[in-house]
Each structure stands twice: as C-alpha cells, then as structure tokens.
C-alpha cells in the first residue's frame, strides 16, 4: 500500500514537473533595455514615451510573440539624457538583462554607446531623427528617421514651394551648445544651405542657453537680415523665448519650425496656449498625432482599450511606438531566420539589415524603411510630415514630403 502511494506521488510529481517545464521550454524570453529620461530635460514627455514602449511590447507579446514561442521583457533605466550616466549604466544593464536590443532617448545615448555596442553586439533603436556625428557605415544604432538636417531641409523645400518663394529661403537657426546633438542639428541645416545656395540661406545661427535669458536683440538682428523661417530643433524653452521675442517686435508672421521633441503641442503648453503658435510648424518623419482617424491613431486606441496602456496620443507616444515597433519587428525577423530560441543582438541587427519594413508593419507610424550598411537611417525613400496650428487647431499641413539629399558634414 505504502509502495503504491509512493509510486503515485512520484508519478504526480513527475507529471507536475513536466507540466511546468513544458511552457518554459516552449517560450523563450528576450529582454529589451529601455533607456529613458525621468529626471533630465525630457522628463516631461517620458510618461507617454515609456508608456508607448510598454504598450507596443504588450501588443507584440500577445499578437505575435505568443505564436512564435517568444516573450519580450522590457525594463526602464534612467539615463537622464546624460552621456556619462548612460555610459555608467551600460555594464550593469548588460549584466542584468543581457538585452537583444536597446531603446534610446537621444544624442547622449548615441554618444555614450556608439563605441560599445558593436563590441557587445547589441543594436540600439532610436525614436528621434539621426545625427551627423553618428552617420557612419556599419551602424549598430538605428534611427527610423533621417538626420534633423534632412527633416529641416525637407521643410525648407516644402515651405519655399508652398509660399512661392523664388530665391533661397532665408532661415535663422536657434541652437545651443548645451548638447553636442544640438550643435549637430544646426550643422546639418547649414550643410544643406551651403550645398544648395539657390534653395536656402542661413542668415545666422544663434547659440544660446537651454533656457534663454532673452532673445529680443538676437531675433531683431535676424529679422533685419531678412529671416523668413526660424528653425528651432532644440527644446521648448527656446521656442517660447523666440516667440516672445517675435511678439515683442511685432513680427508674428515669421514662422517657427520645430521638431518632434519640442513640437507644437509641447511648446503650446509651455507658452500658455496654442493660439500663440498659429502659423508655426513642426516637421518629422513619422505620424502626426492629430485627432484625425488614421491607422496609427487606431493602433494607439487599440492598445489603450485592449492592454490598458497608460499612453495618450501624442508626439512622445508616436516616438515610443516607432522605435519599439522597429525593434520588435527586427526581433521577429531574426526569430524567423535563426529560430525562436537562438535570437541574439547580432541576429536582430542582421535581420533588420536584410528585411524591408513596410509602413503597414508599423501601423503607418513610420514610412517604408530599408536599412543598409551605409548609414544608421534609411538613406532613400524617406518622407516627412508637417503639422501646423490653423485657427487654433492642431492639423496636418502636408504628408509624405520627400526628404532631399544632403552630403555628410
């Protein structure tokens, strides 16, 4: 009797072990390191950006990963938009997560990790436009958008043709040396103007603090030089100071061009109302989060409804979605190529290079992407979208504006 009971217990235990082991062996977990900025200059947009990353991972695990036997885990790290902080975090991230992909925030993360990732064989996916200083062959850091210079140049061409301007468009740039990325952004636009003197002329690049004291004198100077557009791809504080200077000088007809991270909505909140930004623009190579019904907007609403995602429809969430979806699609392509249990960072990179990523796969958040070994961003076929404030409303001004070529700087 005792012997039969022992056999029964042993059998049940074995069955339990097999039952527990089966799902574990059927599903392989891979990790993504999510570098964020919770206490630095972009802390204000992190809730949506990080929320979107998590929502995209939840969706992928449920809809794609489950079928492939893969689960993707994601963990946040506060890089503080500081290269030194990101560099110091990296060894710990590797040891703790052994990630197959990293999601970065901006230039400091690129500066901190561009020398290390090739050796560690982990690709990093950005949500921002690319940088000239990272425009090198054989990349391990990937941007879904061209450089800020490219995005600005696309806007210059569009604005010039829309307004019927015959000569070169006269542009003033507001930048800052607070970050190497800000300087690089200005250099890109300057390079486009230098190579295309018939299309754009930079009347002056003003370097100022991240929180400018007062720009009235500087803006007065660029107005005298005939500036038609003021290019600000740094931060919202610079947009507010510039707009106040324009208002002080009674020159509100000069358009300000912003980027994604300092766009119309964020700058509108910082200045106290969207009406102050009437006729200004934001430009970037990804979906514009207006109220209009689009595939991208549908995706955001779906993840909120189905996965209880804590994410609003904003530029920050579009950025979070874009980089995470590219990373997940690359992991997916790698798993199909090497097998679900053999995915590595190197395999993810190789798969990304070998796979065309149609816009549909990112729910229209990004255009069609084809990466090559030439650059960290797709060098051909890219487009940007332009948004503006019209009658106090945030609307799309132009879609799929082609990005012109710029030589490296």
């Amino acid at each position: 009797m005792k012997s039969r009971l022992s056999k029964w217990i042993a059998g049940a235990a074995a069955a339990a072990v097999v039952a527990l082991a089966l799902p574990a062996s059927a599903q392989t977990t891979y990790n993504i390191a999510s570098i964020a900025d919770f206490t630095g200059p972009y802390a204000d947009i992190m809730k949506d950006l990080v929320g979107a990353r998590r929502a995209a991972v939840d969706w992928w695990n449920d809809e794609i990963g489950k079928g492939m036997g893969i689960k993707v885990g994601i963990k946040d790290y506060d890089g503080r938009y500081d290269a030194a902080q990101t560099a110091s975090l990296w060894p710990g991230i590797k040891a703790e997560l052994n990630p197959v992909a990293v999601l970065g925030v901006g230039g400091p993360d690129v500066a901190a990790l561009q020398g290390r990732l090739p050796a560690d064989k982990v690709p990093m996916f950005m949500s921002t436009a690319a940088y000239g200083f990272a425009w090198k062959p054989d990349p391990w850091i990937f941007n879904p958008r061209p450089t800020y210079g490219h995005e600005a140049a696309a806007f210059f061409e569009w604005f010039r043709s829309t307004r019927g301007i015959k000569g070169p468009l006269k542009v003033a740039i507001i930048s800052s040396e607070a970050s190497p990325a800000y300087v690089d952004i200005a250099k890109g636009a300057e390079k486009f103007a230098k190579d295309n003197p018939d299309k754009a002329e930079i009347v002056e690049t003003i370097y100022t603090e991240v929180q400018p004291t007062d720009l009235t004198t500087q803006i007065g100077r660029v107005i005298r030089k005939g500036a038609q557009v003021i290019d600000i791809q740094t931060n919202t504080a610079a947009v507010v100071a510039t707009k106040r200077a324009l208002q002080a000088l009674g020159k509100t007809d000069i358009a300000i061009m912003m980027s994604s991270h300092n766009g119309l909505i964020a700058s509108g909140k910082a200045i106290g109302g969207m009406k102050d930004l009437e006729g200004d623009y934001e430009v970037y190579g990804m979906a514009v989060p207006t109220d209009e019904k689009t595939k991208a907007h549908d995706f955001q609403q779906m993840v909120v409804a189905k996965y209880k995602a804590q994410v609003t429809w904003s530029v920050a969430s579009v950025m979070g979605f874009n980089q995470t979806l590219v990373a997940l699609r690359a992991i997916e392509a790698a798993a199909r190529k090497v097998g679900a249990d053999k995915v590595t960072g190197e395999a993810v990179r190789t798969a990304l290079m070998a796979t065309q990523l149609p816009s549909d796969q990112t729910f229209g958040i990004l255009p069609n992407l084809t990466y090559t070994n030439d650059a960290p961003f797709p060098v051909t076929g890219l487009t940007v979208n332009v948004a503006t404030i019209k009658d106090g409303k945030y609307v799309i001004a132009a879609e799929n504006v082609p990005v012109p070529a710029i030589t490296k700087w």
């Binding site: 040396e177 370097y207 991240v210 004291t213 100077r221 504080a237 002080a248 910082a270």
Partner: protein, 297 residues
C-alpha cells in the same frame, strides 16, 4: 563690416543680462557673508521661487500684486526652513562640510520640485510687458531694463543696510568671524537665518525678472551657474561690487557672443565668463572687492 548700432545693442543687452546675473549673485554673496557657505543650490532657489510664482499666478489665479509679495514671503520661509534644518546645526563646523550640505541641498530641492510640480515645462506669467523699449535704434528688452533698475536699487539698498544699520553691521561682524561675533553677543544663528531668507527672496526676485513671459522647468537653475563668475569677480563679500562685476561680465559676454561666436561657429560667449572666473582665481582669488584677510600664526 562694423556697425555701431549693432555694437551698442549687444553692449546694452549684454550689460542688462549681466545685471540679472548680479541679482542672482547677490543671493550667493548674502549667504556667503553670513555663513561662509558657498551655496551651490542658489540656482535651485531660483527655480523654487519661479514655481511658487507660477503656482500662485497661473494655478490659483491670484493677481500679481498679491501673488508676488506672497511668493517672496513663501521663499523667505523656505530659506528659513533650510537654515533651521541644515545649517543651524553646522555653526562652527568646517566650510567644507557646509559646502557638501549645499550640494546635497541642490539634489534635494531638484528632487522635491520634480516630485511636487512635475517635470513638465510650465508657462511663466508675463510680469513685465513684452514690448521692448526702443531708444533710437537701440532695442532694450523691457523685462531686463526693469530688472536692471530693480537690481541697482536692491544692490545699493543692501550695501547701505550692511554698512550703515545696526542689524547690517551685526551681520558684517558675523561675516568676519563667527567666534568674535559670538563673543560680542551677536546671534550668529539669527544672522545666518536672516541671510538664508534674504538669499531665497533675492532668488525669487531673480526668477521673476529672468522668466517673465517665458517657460519654466527645473533647467532654469542653470542661471545660478551663470551668476557664479559675477560673484567671483566681485569678491564674495561685496554687494555693491557685484553690480560692476555684473556689468563687466554681461557686456563682455554679449560682445563675445555677437562677434566671436559667428566666426568660430560656437558658443564662446557662454564659456567666456568662466574663463574670466578662472583668470580671477589665478590672479586675485578675493575678486575685485573681496576682503583680504591677514592670518597671523
């Protein structure tokens, strides 16, 4: 080609920005004179004052004539709380210990601001009209012009206070030596408390001038760093000297920004005040008007 009008615009604008730095630097000096503490958290006091003004005007809708004095009062209380919690216990301790506490304070205040007000960029109310004052071809930002007048009045007033009133002279005695002041029956703790309250109020005043009509988040604390070369050039004990130092640093910075930056394609203007600071530290560590002390061993 050299343009005289441009030159004057840069010079005037730079000088006015320098006087704003001088106002912030006064906060450094007032606290240093009383407690011999170089307060690394001065920029954070500016941000704190800015958020209090924002909260009172934008969030609660108080009229400016009520909100601004109230914000000053809250800042003074905040300064007193800082002194009571951290510095009243450190009287007689080494300067190094006190400086380390101010670094901790910087991190603490920044964390508290993030916790209480969040990381969002906030619209700061328009305190001074946006329209600039135009004299001939010279364009003067109104907030900086009014700020400069306020700075000069405050600087001269404080200088008079420290040199001509009983309370001010007591604080000057405290600034010279805590032990001697104590032996003369002067309350060192009370002087230090007053200095922290005054330093916080000056920071709030600086925030009002600096941020009028612009945006606010914790990055505004960078102005504390910009004011540092002004305090060093003046010498850490001279209130009136800081006005001249502010004018020098601001004017030089304005001209370098206008004429050197475009040539080299970078922000030499923002670095140049710190070059001045290093030169001062090498040549005359006490600054232009700082006290020269003779120690007999």
């Amino acid at each position: 080609m050299f343009d005289t009008i441009d030159f004057l615009n840069y010079l005037v604008n730079g000088s006015l920005v320098g006087l704003l730095y001088a106002l912030i630097a006064m906060g450094f000096i007032v606290i240093y004179r009383a407690s011999k503490v170089f307060n690394f958290a001065q920029g954070e006091l500016v941000v704190f004052g800015g958020f209090i003004v924002w909260w009172m005007v934008i969030q609660t809708g108080l009229p400016l004539f009520v909100a601004l004095p109230l914000a000053m009062a809250v800042s003074a209380i905040f300064g007193l709380i800082i002194e009571r919690i951290f510095f009243s216990r450190l009287v007689g301790e080494s300067s190094f210990a006190m400086v380390m506490v101010t670094i901790g304070l910087l991190i603490l205040i920044r964390g508290l601001i993030l916790l209480i007000f969040g990381p969002q960029v906030r619209p700061f109310p328009i305190i001074f009209a946006l329209k600039p004052v135009i004299i001939g071809d010279i364009l003067i930002p109104r907030s900086l012009l009014i700020g400069a007048v306020i700075t000069v009045i405050v600087g001269l007033g404080l200088s008079w206070f420290f040199n001509n009133t009983r309370a001010g002279l007591k604080m000057t005695a405290v600034a010279e030596d805590h032990q001697v002041a104590l032996s003369m029956g002067i309350s060192v703790k009370r002087s230090i408390a007053f200095a922290w309250a005054l330093g916080a109020v000056l920071s709030t005043l600086g925030a009002i001038i600096y941020l009028s009509g612009k945006s606010l988040n914790f990055l505004a604390s960078d102005i504390g760093l910009s004011a540092l070369p002004v305090a060093l050039l003046a010498g850490f004990e001279s209130i009136a000297g800081v006005l001249l130092a502010g004018l020098i640093v601001g004017a030089v910075q304005g001209l370098v920004t206008a004429y050197v930056d475009p040539v080299v394609g970078g922000a030499v203007g923002s670095v140049f005040p710190f070059v001045i600071m290093l030169v001062i530290l090498f040549i005359r560590p006490t600054g232009m008007f700082g006290w020269r002390t003779i120690e007999r061993v």
